[in-house]
Symmetry: C2
Subunit: 249 residues, 2 copies
Protein backbone atom coordinates (compact mmCIF):
# COMPACT_ATOMS: atom_id res chain seq x y z
CA UNK A 1 0.00 0.00 0.00
CA UNK A 2 1.46 3.33 -0.99
CA UNK A 3 0.26 6.92 -1.14
CA UNK A 4 0.79 9.63 -3.69
CA UNK A 5 2.16 12.97 -2.64
CA UNK A 6 -1.28 14.60 -2.75
CA UNK A 7 -2.79 11.90 -0.58
CA UNK A 8 -0.07 12.30 2.00
CA UNK A 9 -0.50 16.06 1.83
CA UNK A 10 -4.24 15.88 2.40
CA UNK A 11 -3.90 13.44 5.25
CA UNK A 12 -1.16 15.29 7.05
CA UNK A 13 -2.24 18.84 6.41
CA UNK A 14 1.02 19.99 4.85
CA UNK A 15 1.26 20.97 1.20
CA UNK A 16 2.83 18.86 -1.48
CA UNK A 17 5.37 21.64 -1.88
CA UNK A 18 6.46 21.03 1.68
CA UNK A 19 6.84 17.33 1.06
CA UNK A 20 8.93 18.03 -2.02
CA UNK A 21 11.02 20.39 0.07
CA UNK A 22 11.56 17.72 2.71
CA UNK A 23 12.63 15.39 -0.05
CA UNK A 24 14.96 17.98 -1.55
CA UNK A 25 16.80 18.52 1.74
CA UNK A 26 16.92 14.80 2.44
CA UNK A 27 14.68 14.99 5.48
CA UNK A 28 11.95 12.76 4.12
CA UNK A 29 12.68 10.93 0.89
CA UNK A 30 9.73 8.98 -0.50
CA UNK A 31 9.76 5.21 -0.21
CA UNK A 32 10.34 4.93 -3.92
CA UNK A 33 10.09 6.98 -7.07
CA UNK A 34 8.33 5.56 -10.12
CA UNK A 35 9.75 5.66 -13.62
CA UNK A 36 7.68 8.72 -14.42
CA UNK A 37 9.15 10.62 -11.47
CA UNK A 38 6.14 10.27 -9.20
CA UNK A 39 6.86 9.98 -5.49
CA UNK A 40 5.34 7.15 -3.51
CA UNK A 41 5.15 7.04 0.28
CA UNK A 42 4.71 4.02 2.54
CA UNK A 43 3.66 3.76 6.15
CA UNK A 44 7.24 4.16 7.33
CA UNK A 45 7.41 7.58 5.71
CA UNK A 46 4.09 8.57 7.26
CA UNK A 47 5.41 7.73 10.70
CA UNK A 48 8.56 9.72 10.03
CA UNK A 49 6.43 12.61 8.82
CA UNK A 50 4.44 12.51 12.04
CA UNK A 51 7.66 12.75 14.02
CA UNK A 52 8.86 15.61 11.85
CA UNK A 53 5.64 17.54 12.28
CA UNK A 54 5.59 17.00 16.01
CA UNK A 55 9.15 18.20 16.43
CA UNK A 56 8.50 21.13 14.13
CA UNK A 57 5.50 22.02 16.28
CA UNK A 58 7.89 22.27 19.18
CA UNK A 59 9.55 25.07 17.26
CA UNK A 60 12.65 23.16 16.22
CA UNK A 61 14.23 24.07 12.91
CA UNK A 62 14.40 21.36 10.26
CA UNK A 63 18.12 21.03 10.86
CA UNK A 64 17.50 20.09 14.49
CA UNK A 65 14.66 17.79 13.50
CA UNK A 66 16.99 16.00 11.13
CA UNK A 67 19.64 15.70 13.84
CA UNK A 68 17.21 14.05 16.19
CA UNK A 69 15.81 11.67 13.62
CA UNK A 70 19.22 10.67 12.28
CA UNK A 71 20.89 10.04 15.63
CA UNK A 72 17.96 8.11 16.96
CA UNK A 73 19.57 7.91 20.40
CA UNK A 74 17.69 8.88 23.54
CA UNK A 75 20.56 10.86 25.03
CA UNK A 76 21.32 12.78 21.87
CA UNK A 77 17.69 13.66 21.48
CA UNK A 78 17.42 14.94 25.02
CA UNK A 79 20.50 17.09 24.47
CA UNK A 80 18.97 18.67 21.39
CA UNK A 81 15.64 19.16 23.13
CA UNK A 82 17.30 20.76 26.15
CA UNK A 83 19.25 23.12 23.93
CA UNK A 84 16.04 24.08 22.22
CA UNK A 85 14.32 24.48 25.56
CA UNK A 86 16.89 27.05 26.60
CA UNK A 87 16.31 28.95 23.40
CA UNK A 88 12.56 28.92 24.01
CA UNK A 89 13.05 30.31 27.50
CA UNK A 90 15.26 33.10 26.22
CA UNK A 91 12.70 33.86 23.57
CA UNK A 92 10.04 33.99 26.24
CA UNK A 93 12.08 36.45 28.27
CA UNK A 94 12.57 38.60 25.21
CA UNK A 95 8.83 38.61 24.56
CA UNK A 96 8.12 39.56 28.16
CA UNK A 97 10.45 42.54 27.88
CA UNK A 98 8.92 43.61 24.60
CA UNK A 99 5.42 43.38 26.01
CA UNK A 100 6.30 45.42 29.07
CA UNK A 101 7.88 48.10 26.93
CA UNK A 102 5.07 48.18 24.42
CA UNK A 103 2.50 48.49 27.19
CA UNK A 104 4.39 51.36 28.73
CA UNK A 105 4.72 53.02 25.35
CA UNK A 106 1.02 52.69 24.59
CA UNK A 107 0.18 54.11 28.00
CA UNK A 108 2.43 57.06 27.50
CA UNK A 109 1.12 57.78 24.04
CA UNK A 110 -2.46 57.71 25.24
CA UNK A 111 -1.62 60.19 27.94
CA UNK A 112 -1.05 62.56 25.08
CA UNK A 113 2.59 61.99 24.32
CA UNK A 114 3.74 61.82 20.75
CA UNK A 115 6.45 60.04 18.87
CA UNK A 116 9.00 62.82 18.80
CA UNK A 117 12.29 62.28 20.50
CA UNK A 118 11.06 64.37 23.41
CA UNK A 119 8.61 61.89 24.81
CA UNK A 120 9.91 58.67 23.47
CA UNK A 121 13.54 59.10 24.26
CA UNK A 122 13.79 61.39 27.22
CA UNK A 123 14.30 58.44 29.45
CA UNK A 124 17.07 57.27 27.21
CA UNK A 125 18.86 60.45 26.37
CA UNK A 126 21.62 59.69 28.79
CA UNK A 127 21.82 56.21 27.44
CA UNK A 128 21.09 56.57 23.76
CA UNK A 129 23.83 54.48 22.30
CA UNK A 130 23.57 51.17 23.95
CA UNK A 131 26.31 49.48 22.00
CA UNK A 132 28.82 52.13 22.93
CA UNK A 133 27.53 52.15 26.47
CA UNK A 134 28.35 48.47 26.66
CA UNK A 135 31.85 49.18 25.40
CA UNK A 136 32.35 52.06 27.75
CA UNK A 137 30.82 50.70 30.93
CA UNK A 138 30.65 46.99 30.29
CA UNK A 139 27.77 44.63 29.77
CA UNK A 140 27.02 44.18 33.46
CA UNK A 141 26.41 47.87 34.03
CA UNK A 142 24.12 48.20 31.04
CA UNK A 143 22.21 45.05 31.87
CA UNK A 144 21.87 46.16 35.47
CA UNK A 145 20.48 49.43 34.20
CA UNK A 146 17.86 47.61 32.14
CA UNK A 147 17.06 45.44 35.13
CA UNK A 148 16.41 48.56 37.12
CA UNK A 149 14.18 49.99 34.40
CA UNK A 150 12.13 46.83 34.46
CA UNK A 151 11.15 47.61 38.03
CA UNK A 152 9.95 51.11 37.23
CA UNK A 153 6.54 52.23 38.40
CA UNK A 154 4.59 54.49 36.02
CA UNK A 155 5.64 57.39 38.24
CA UNK A 156 9.27 56.41 37.72
CA UNK A 157 8.80 56.31 33.97
CA UNK A 158 7.22 59.72 34.16
CA UNK A 159 10.09 61.06 36.17
CA UNK A 160 12.58 59.60 33.72
CA UNK A 161 10.76 61.12 30.79
CA UNK A 162 10.39 64.60 32.19
CA UNK A 163 13.11 64.77 34.84
CA UNK A 164 16.19 65.68 32.88
CA UNK A 165 14.24 68.18 30.84
CA UNK A 166 13.17 70.03 33.99
CA UNK A 167 16.73 70.01 35.27
CA UNK A 168 18.13 71.42 32.05
CA UNK A 169 15.43 74.06 31.70
CA UNK A 170 15.82 75.15 35.31
CA UNK A 171 19.57 75.29 35.06
CA UNK A 172 19.42 77.34 31.87
CA UNK A 173 17.37 79.98 33.71
CA UNK A 174 19.65 80.04 36.72
CA UNK A 175 22.69 80.26 34.47
CA UNK A 176 21.14 83.16 32.60
CA UNK A 177 20.52 84.84 35.97
CA UNK A 178 24.16 84.44 36.88
CA UNK A 179 23.52 82.15 39.84
CA UNK A 180 26.66 80.32 41.05
CA UNK A 181 26.93 76.56 40.64
CA UNK A 182 27.10 75.98 44.40
CA UNK A 183 23.96 78.00 45.05
CA UNK A 184 21.19 76.15 46.85
CA UNK A 185 18.73 76.51 43.97
CA UNK A 186 21.21 74.96 41.56
CA UNK A 187 22.05 72.16 43.96
CA UNK A 188 18.37 71.45 44.39
CA UNK A 189 18.06 70.85 40.66
CA UNK A 190 21.17 68.70 40.68
CA UNK A 191 19.54 66.69 43.42
CA UNK A 192 16.69 65.98 41.03
CA UNK A 193 19.26 65.13 38.35
CA UNK A 194 20.89 62.66 40.70
CA UNK A 195 17.54 61.18 41.55
CA UNK A 196 16.62 60.68 37.90
CA UNK A 197 20.04 59.21 37.16
CA UNK A 198 19.39 56.86 40.05
CA UNK A 199 16.58 55.36 38.01
CA UNK A 200 19.22 53.90 35.72
CA UNK A 201 22.21 53.37 38.01
CA UNK A 202 23.63 54.64 41.27
CA UNK A 203 26.83 56.60 40.79
CA UNK A 204 29.12 57.26 43.73
CA UNK A 205 30.82 60.66 44.09
CA UNK A 206 33.61 59.89 41.68
CA UNK A 207 31.36 58.33 39.06
CA UNK A 208 28.98 61.26 39.29
CA UNK A 209 31.79 63.74 38.71
CA UNK A 210 32.93 61.57 35.79
CA UNK A 211 29.43 61.65 34.33
CA UNK A 212 29.40 65.45 34.40
CA UNK A 213 32.80 65.51 32.74
CA UNK A 214 31.59 63.16 30.05
CA UNK A 215 28.71 65.46 29.25
CA UNK A 216 31.34 68.04 28.39
CA UNK A 217 33.74 65.73 26.61
CA UNK A 218 31.34 63.81 24.44
CA UNK A 219 29.78 66.01 21.82
CA UNK A 220 26.71 63.83 21.54
CA UNK A 221 25.80 64.40 25.14
CA UNK A 222 26.79 68.05 24.87
CA UNK A 223 24.43 68.42 21.96
CA UNK A 224 21.56 66.62 23.62
CA UNK A 225 21.82 68.44 26.89
CA UNK A 226 22.88 71.90 25.88
CA UNK A 227 20.91 72.17 22.66
CA UNK A 228 23.61 74.48 21.35
CA UNK A 229 24.27 76.12 24.70
CA UNK A 230 27.66 74.66 25.59
CA UNK A 231 28.02 76.91 28.62
CA UNK A 232 25.00 75.17 30.12
CA UNK A 233 26.74 71.82 29.92
CA UNK A 234 29.86 73.20 31.61
CA UNK A 235 27.61 74.72 34.26
CA UNK A 236 25.95 71.37 34.84
CA UNK A 237 29.31 69.64 35.15
CA UNK A 238 30.45 72.22 37.69
CA UNK A 239 27.24 71.89 39.67
CA UNK A 240 27.48 68.10 39.62
CA UNK A 241 31.04 68.29 40.88
CA UNK A 242 29.98 70.49 43.78
CA UNK A 243 27.11 68.11 44.49
CA UNK A 244 29.46 65.15 44.50
CA UNK A 245 31.83 66.90 46.90
CA UNK A 246 29.19 68.04 49.35
CA UNK A 247 26.42 65.44 49.19
CA UNK A 248 27.92 62.15 48.08
CA UNK A 249 30.15 60.09 50.38
Amino acid sequence: MSWSIAEVARASGVTSRTLRHYDAIGLLPPAWVAGNGWRHYEQEQLLRLQQILLLRNLGLCLQAVAEILERDSRDGTVVVLRRHRRRLIEEQERLRRQLRTIDRTIDEMQEGGNMTADTMFDGFEHNPYEAEARQRWGDEAVDASYERMKGWTPADADKARAGYGRVHDGLAELLADGVAADDGRVQELVDLHYEVTGLFWTPNAEAYRGLGQMYVDDERFTRNIGQGNDALVAYLREAMSVYADTRLR
Copy 2:
Protein backbone atom coordinates in the same frame (compact mmCIF):
# COMPACT_ATOMS: atom_id res chain seq x y z
CA MET B 1 27.90 68.86 11.65
CA SER B 2 27.49 65.59 9.81
CA TRP B 3 28.55 62.00 10.35
CA SER B 4 29.82 59.38 7.96
CA ILE B 5 28.14 56.02 7.78
CA ALA B 6 30.85 54.35 9.86
CA GLU B 7 30.57 56.96 12.58
CA VAL B 8 26.82 56.50 12.78
CA ALA B 9 27.31 52.76 12.79
CA ARG B 10 29.78 52.87 15.67
CA ALA B 11 27.65 55.22 17.70
CA SER B 12 24.41 53.30 17.21
CA GLY B 13 25.73 49.78 17.30
CA VAL B 14 24.27 48.71 13.97
CA THR B 15 26.43 47.85 11.00
CA SER B 16 26.95 50.09 8.01
CA ARG B 17 25.31 47.35 5.96
CA THR B 18 22.17 47.85 7.99
CA LEU B 19 22.23 51.58 7.40
CA ARG B 20 22.65 51.02 3.67
CA HIS B 21 19.72 48.62 3.83
CA TYR B 22 17.57 51.19 5.59
CA ASP B 23 18.53 53.64 2.88
CA ALA B 24 17.74 51.15 0.15
CA ILE B 25 14.22 50.52 1.43
CA GLY B 26 13.63 54.20 2.02
CA LEU B 27 13.36 53.89 5.79
CA LEU B 28 16.30 56.12 6.59
CA PRO B 29 17.81 58.08 3.71
CA PRO B 30 20.93 60.02 4.62
CA ALA B 31 20.70 63.79 4.95
CA TRP B 32 22.66 64.17 1.74
CA VAL B 33 24.91 62.23 -0.54
CA ALA B 34 28.19 63.75 -1.68
CA GLY B 35 29.39 63.78 -5.27
CA ASN B 36 31.52 60.71 -4.63
CA GLY B 37 28.52 58.75 -3.41
CA TRP B 38 29.34 58.98 0.28
CA ARG B 39 26.39 59.13 2.65
CA HIS B 40 26.22 61.88 5.23
CA TYR B 41 23.91 61.87 8.24
CA GLU B 42 22.75 64.82 10.36
CA GLN B 43 21.23 64.94 13.81
CA GLU B 44 17.73 64.56 12.39
CA GLN B 45 18.67 61.19 10.91
CA LEU B 46 20.23 60.11 14.19
CA LEU B 47 16.99 60.84 15.99
CA ARG B 48 15.05 58.92 13.40
CA LEU B 49 17.50 56.06 13.73
CA GLN B 50 16.94 56.01 17.48
CA GLN B 51 13.21 55.74 16.91
CA ILE B 52 13.72 52.98 14.38
CA LEU B 53 15.93 50.99 16.71
CA LEU B 54 13.56 51.40 19.61
CA LEU B 55 10.57 50.23 17.60
CA ARG B 56 12.58 47.38 16.14
CA ASN B 57 13.52 46.37 19.69
CA LEU B 58 9.82 46.03 20.36
CA GLY B 59 9.85 43.33 17.72
CA LEU B 60 8.09 45.30 15.01
CA CYS B 61 9.02 44.56 11.42
CA LEU B 62 10.56 47.36 9.40
CA GLN B 63 7.32 47.72 7.48
CA ALA B 64 5.47 48.53 10.68
CA VAL B 65 8.24 50.82 11.83
CA ALA B 66 7.96 52.73 8.58
CA GLU B 67 4.19 53.00 8.96
CA ILE B 68 4.53 54.51 12.39
CA LEU B 69 7.21 56.96 11.41
CA GLU B 70 5.46 58.04 8.22
CA ARG B 71 2.02 58.58 9.74
CA ASP B 72 3.39 60.43 12.71
CA SER B 73 -0.04 60.52 14.32
CA ARG B 74 -0.60 59.42 17.90
CA ASP B 75 -3.74 57.42 17.13
CA GLY B 76 -2.28 55.62 14.14
CA THR B 77 0.77 54.72 16.14
CA VAL B 78 -1.27 53.30 18.97
CA VAL B 79 -3.27 51.22 16.51
CA VAL B 80 -0.10 49.71 15.07
CA LEU B 81 1.34 49.11 18.52
CA ARG B 82 -1.85 47.43 19.71
CA ARG B 83 -1.91 45.19 16.68
CA HIS B 84 1.67 44.24 17.39
CA ARG B 85 0.86 43.68 21.04
CA ARG B 86 -1.76 41.12 20.10
CA ARG B 87 0.78 39.32 17.97
CA LEU B 88 3.25 39.29 20.83
CA ILE B 89 0.66 37.79 23.13
CA GLU B 90 -0.19 35.07 20.64
CA GLU B 91 3.48 34.37 20.22
CA GLN B 92 3.81 34.09 23.98
CA GLU B 93 0.98 31.60 24.15
CA ARG B 94 2.60 29.56 21.41
CA LEU B 95 5.87 29.52 23.32
CA ARG B 96 4.11 28.46 26.49
CA ARG B 97 2.55 25.51 24.68
CA GLN B 98 5.86 24.53 23.12
CA LEU B 99 7.62 24.68 26.46
CA ARG B 100 5.00 22.53 28.16
CA THR B 101 5.21 19.96 25.41
CA ILE B 102 8.97 19.92 25.30
CA ASP B 103 9.17 19.51 29.06
CA ARG B 104 6.78 16.60 28.92
CA THR B 105 8.73 15.07 26.08
CA ILE B 106 12.05 15.40 27.87
CA ASP B 107 10.54 13.86 30.98
CA GLU B 108 9.18 10.93 29.05
CA MET B 109 12.42 10.34 27.23
CA GLN B 110 14.39 10.33 30.44
CA GLU B 111 12.06 7.77 31.89
CA GLY B 112 13.50 5.49 29.27
CA GLY B 113 11.18 6.10 26.39
CA ASN B 114 12.59 6.45 22.92
CA MET B 115 11.71 8.32 19.79
CA THR B 116 9.80 5.60 18.04
CA ALA B 117 6.17 6.17 17.26
CA ASP B 118 5.26 3.99 20.23
CA THR B 119 6.23 6.39 22.96
CA MET B 120 6.09 9.68 21.20
CA PHE B 121 2.80 9.30 19.46
CA ASP B 122 0.71 6.96 21.51
CA GLY B 123 -1.16 9.90 22.94
CA PHE B 124 -1.85 11.13 19.48
CA GLU B 125 -2.56 7.99 17.54
CA HIS B 126 -6.25 8.69 17.50
CA ASN B 127 -5.61 12.23 16.47
CA PRO B 128 -2.62 12.07 14.18
CA TYR B 129 -3.84 14.20 11.36
CA GLU B 130 -4.82 17.45 12.90
CA ALA B 131 -5.66 19.24 9.69
CA GLU B 132 -8.07 16.59 8.64
CA ALA B 133 -9.44 16.39 12.15
CA ARG B 134 -10.29 20.05 11.89
CA GLN B 135 -12.05 19.42 8.62
CA ARG B 136 -13.90 16.44 9.93
CA TRP B 137 -14.89 17.64 13.36
CA GLY B 138 -14.41 21.38 13.15
CA ASP B 139 -11.99 23.78 14.75
CA GLU B 140 -13.85 24.04 18.03
CA ALA B 141 -13.69 20.32 18.72
CA VAL B 142 -9.98 20.10 17.98
CA ASP B 143 -9.16 23.21 19.97
CA ALA B 144 -11.25 21.96 22.86
CA SER B 145 -9.29 18.72 22.70
CA TYR B 146 -6.02 20.62 22.96
CA GLU B 147 -7.44 22.67 25.80
CA ARG B 148 -8.19 19.47 27.61
CA MET B 149 -4.69 18.11 27.00
CA LYS B 150 -3.25 21.27 28.53
CA GLY B 151 -4.86 20.32 31.82
CA TRP B 152 -3.36 16.85 31.86
CA THR B 153 -1.56 15.66 34.94
CA PRO B 154 1.53 13.49 34.38
CA ALA B 155 -0.65 10.49 35.22
CA ASP B 156 -3.05 11.52 32.48
CA ALA B 157 -0.23 11.78 29.97
CA ASP B 158 0.91 8.36 31.05
CA LYS B 159 -2.53 6.96 30.61
CA ALA B 160 -2.84 8.54 27.18
CA ARG B 161 0.49 7.11 26.12
CA ALA B 162 -0.08 3.59 27.30
CA GLY B 163 -3.86 3.31 27.48
CA TYR B 164 -4.86 2.51 23.93
CA GLY B 165 -1.98 0.10 23.61
CA ARG B 166 -3.19 -1.90 26.59
CA VAL B 167 -6.72 -1.92 25.20
CA HIS B 168 -5.63 -3.16 21.81
CA ASP B 169 -3.32 -5.81 23.23
CA GLY B 170 -5.94 -7.06 25.65
CA LEU B 171 -8.61 -7.15 22.96
CA ALA B 172 -6.33 -9.07 20.60
CA GLU B 173 -5.94 -11.79 23.24
CA LEU B 174 -9.64 -12.00 23.99
CA LEU B 175 -10.42 -12.09 20.28
CA ALA B 176 -7.96 -14.91 19.80
CA ASP B 177 -9.65 -16.75 22.67
CA GLY B 178 -13.00 -16.35 20.95
CA VAL B 179 -14.54 -14.19 23.68
CA ALA B 180 -17.73 -12.39 22.59
CA ALA B 181 -17.76 -8.60 22.24
CA ASP B 182 -20.39 -8.21 24.96
CA ASP B 183 -18.41 -10.27 27.45
CA GLY B 184 -17.59 -8.53 30.71
CA ARG B 185 -13.83 -8.76 30.14
CA VAL B 186 -14.14 -7.10 26.75
CA GLN B 187 -16.41 -4.40 28.10
CA GLU B 188 -13.95 -3.73 30.89
CA LEU B 189 -11.29 -3.00 28.32
CA VAL B 190 -13.67 -0.80 26.35
CA ASP B 191 -14.32 1.07 29.57
CA LEU B 192 -10.61 1.85 29.68
CA HIS B 193 -10.79 2.83 26.02
CA TYR B 194 -13.63 5.22 26.79
CA GLU B 195 -11.71 6.64 29.71
CA VAL B 196 -8.60 7.30 27.61
CA THR B 197 -10.71 8.81 24.85
CA GLY B 198 -12.20 11.03 27.53
CA LEU B 199 -8.78 12.60 27.93
CA PHE B 200 -9.29 14.18 24.51
CA TRP B 201 -13.03 14.62 24.26
CA THR B 202 -16.24 13.22 25.70
CA PRO B 203 -18.27 11.31 23.16
CA ASN B 204 -21.91 10.53 23.82
CA ALA B 205 -23.36 7.15 22.84
CA GLU B 206 -23.86 8.05 19.20
CA ALA B 207 -20.49 9.69 18.79
CA TYR B 208 -18.77 6.75 20.43
CA ARG B 209 -20.45 4.32 18.05
CA GLY B 210 -19.42 6.61 15.21
CA LEU B 211 -15.84 6.58 16.41
CA GLY B 212 -15.77 2.77 16.33
CA GLN B 213 -17.23 2.80 12.85
CA MET B 214 -14.58 5.28 11.71
CA TYR B 215 -11.84 2.97 12.95
CA VAL B 216 -13.17 0.44 10.47
CA ASP B 217 -13.89 2.86 7.63
CA ASP B 218 -10.68 4.85 7.67
CA GLU B 219 -7.75 2.75 6.66
CA ARG B 220 -5.31 4.94 8.54
CA PHE B 221 -6.98 4.19 11.83
CA THR B 222 -7.46 0.58 10.84
CA ARG B 223 -3.76 0.31 10.20
CA ASN B 224 -2.73 2.05 13.41
CA ILE B 225 -5.05 0.07 15.62
CA GLY B 226 -5.08 -3.35 14.04
CA GLN B 227 -1.46 -3.48 12.90
CA GLY B 228 -2.55 -5.72 10.08
CA ASN B 229 -5.23 -7.49 12.06
CA ASP B 230 -8.40 -6.07 10.56
CA ALA B 231 -10.61 -8.44 12.51
CA LEU B 232 -9.39 -6.80 15.68
CA VAL B 233 -10.66 -3.43 14.51
CA ALA B 234 -14.06 -4.85 13.66
CA TYR B 235 -14.08 -6.52 17.08
CA LEU B 236 -13.32 -3.20 18.74
CA ARG B 237 -16.10 -1.47 16.81
CA GLU B 238 -18.56 -4.14 17.84
CA ALA B 239 -17.48 -3.91 21.47
CA MET B 240 -17.72 -0.11 21.41
CA SER B 241 -21.21 -0.35 19.98
CA VAL B 242 -22.28 -2.67 22.79
CA TYR B 243 -20.66 -0.35 25.32
CA ALA B 244 -22.50 2.64 23.86
CA ASP B 245 -25.83 0.80 24.02
CA THR B 246 -25.44 -0.46 27.56
CA ARG B 247 -23.32 2.10 29.39
CA LEU B 248 -23.78 5.49 27.69
CA ARG B 249 -26.93 7.62 27.97
